[in-house]
Subunit: 250 residues, 2 copies
DNA sequence: TATATAAAATGACGTAACGTCAGCATCAAG
DNA sequence: CTTGATGCTGACGTTACGTCATTTTATATA
């Protein structure tokens, strides 16, 4: 005979929870004192732990009650249902995660002041009509080039290559104040050039086309490329010019 | 001037929701008629869509209200928090999923009558030790070095420098197959070395210490550093050795 | 202008799983 | 018999609305 405080300790829940479960008829203690104090047995504790488990895998108290009460319960069915539900929840959370990462990347590059713009941009992208994006994509590129386009950094991606593009652009923006010939900037540019060669080798006319798109913010946004400010682009061009010149001379 | 039914259509929520948001002070319509009918403007609709977005990524109405009201809000902080929360939820759901799958398996083997036994087995797996972490951090580093530690890439970090570290490690891992002397690898290593000099100049013994921690996966994980596999570390050391040698010779 | 009808308003109650507080009863020890 | 610790019940609060029930307003037609 265990009183309620000890039972709460043993099962890891609060006293209130035990009383609540008693009240809703989920788990009544084996006996009570004359004064009405609840007295739990070891079996009650075990039952409680089972309830905790079923709760952890996502069943509601109402469902658990039904399961424990009815003798012949279709376990396979409810477990399958629950599995489907859990999988759906995971999908949703993944979407949330990707939206949040977009926001993180957006703010990292645009600075905190640009959050409103960042949200506006992302809102546009994550609106339910994904077909518009496909349409504009189809209108500009041929099938062969669409495969290449997948290698271009899109904001939501976690893949290391895309991630570094975003990181490099962010650093470029952050250190713009040092001027285009600063070593730190030149290192970034060199790294960008390396990556350009590695990822898009021999596809120069494709790159050119892409470049033009980036110069038009509206089009870039439609196509889900990471939007870059005009001043960053100008700065980048300038730094790149210097990089090429040094390469030719030294 | 749009009345409430149309506004509900445009934003994809119910009429009740709009009235509710008005009541709790989250979004009041721009004006009302004499009789008290709510009249929304286009700006109201846009605001509503922003609210919908913030809701979709998991913020509560209370949080959204605070965000929209206060002018200077720490977006990075709340977004980071939210991301952490979402990731934690995903972890939980994954655990649920695996438990559910085990249950399916268990019932398939034991038969429906054995479900009690199946649950008992699986219950064993779910213990909960989440202590430590701050402790281990305090025990290894002095205060001065903890400040430096903040510059080290942690998994939840959003700033471009940290992001690139993660991206570089990811790429290293991905292209390990090419061997340590491949140009692509050597470029990554060079970039890492540049960043090391830029971010941690003159803190060599700290770097060494960090390196040791990274060699111990358990400790590294506890401290929330980006987890690196042993083989990646070995590979990186080898590639770095080659990089240094080439620098000395050429 | 009177009326029929659609649409809008407010208010109350319900949800899931408890937390928190108030006020009173009971238990074990001294 | 007192006292302090513990337990009891009941009520209200939480989130983001859904679902009535009742009443008021807006608009179109006769």
């Amino acid at each position: 005979m265990i009183h309620i405080h000890r039972a709460a300790e043993l099962t890891g829940v609060t006293v209130r929870t035990l009383r609540y479960y008693d009240k809703i008829g989920l788990l009544a203690p084996a006996s009570k004192t004359e004064g009405g104090h609840r007295l739990y047995t070891n079996d009650d504790i075990k039952c409680m732990q089972q309830i905790q488990f079923l709760k952890r895998i996502g069943f509601s108290l109402e469902e658990i009650k039904k399961m424990l009460n009815s003798e012949d319960w279709d376990w396979t069915e409810s477990i399958k249902d629950q599995l489907a539900y859990v999988l759906k929840e995971q999908e949703q959370l993944k979407q949330m995660e990707s939206s949040l990462r977009e926001l993180v990347h957006g703010i990292a590059i645009e600075g905190e002041e640009g959050w409103m713009a960042a949200i506006a941009k992302i809102m546009h992208l994550s609106s339910k009509d994904t077909r518009l994006k496909q349409d504009s994509l189809n209108s500009v590129f041929q099938p062969r080039e669409k495969k290449l386009l997948e290698k271009v950094p899109s904001m939501a991606s976690e893949d290391p290559d895309s991630l570094e593009w975003i990181a490099l652009i962010g650093q470029l923006k952050r250190h713009m104040g040092a001027g285009p010939q600063a070593p730190r900037i030149q290192h970034i540019i060199r790294r960008m050039d390396e990556k350009r060669l590695e990822n898009f080798e021999g596809e120069d006319e494709f790159i050119d086309q892409l470049w033009e798109i980036r110069m038009s913010p509206a089009l870039s946004e439609k196509m889900n490329l990471y939007p870059m400010d005009q001043d960053v682009l100008k700065f980048m061009e300038e730094a790149y010019r210097i990089y090429i010149l040094r390469g030719e001379n030294g």
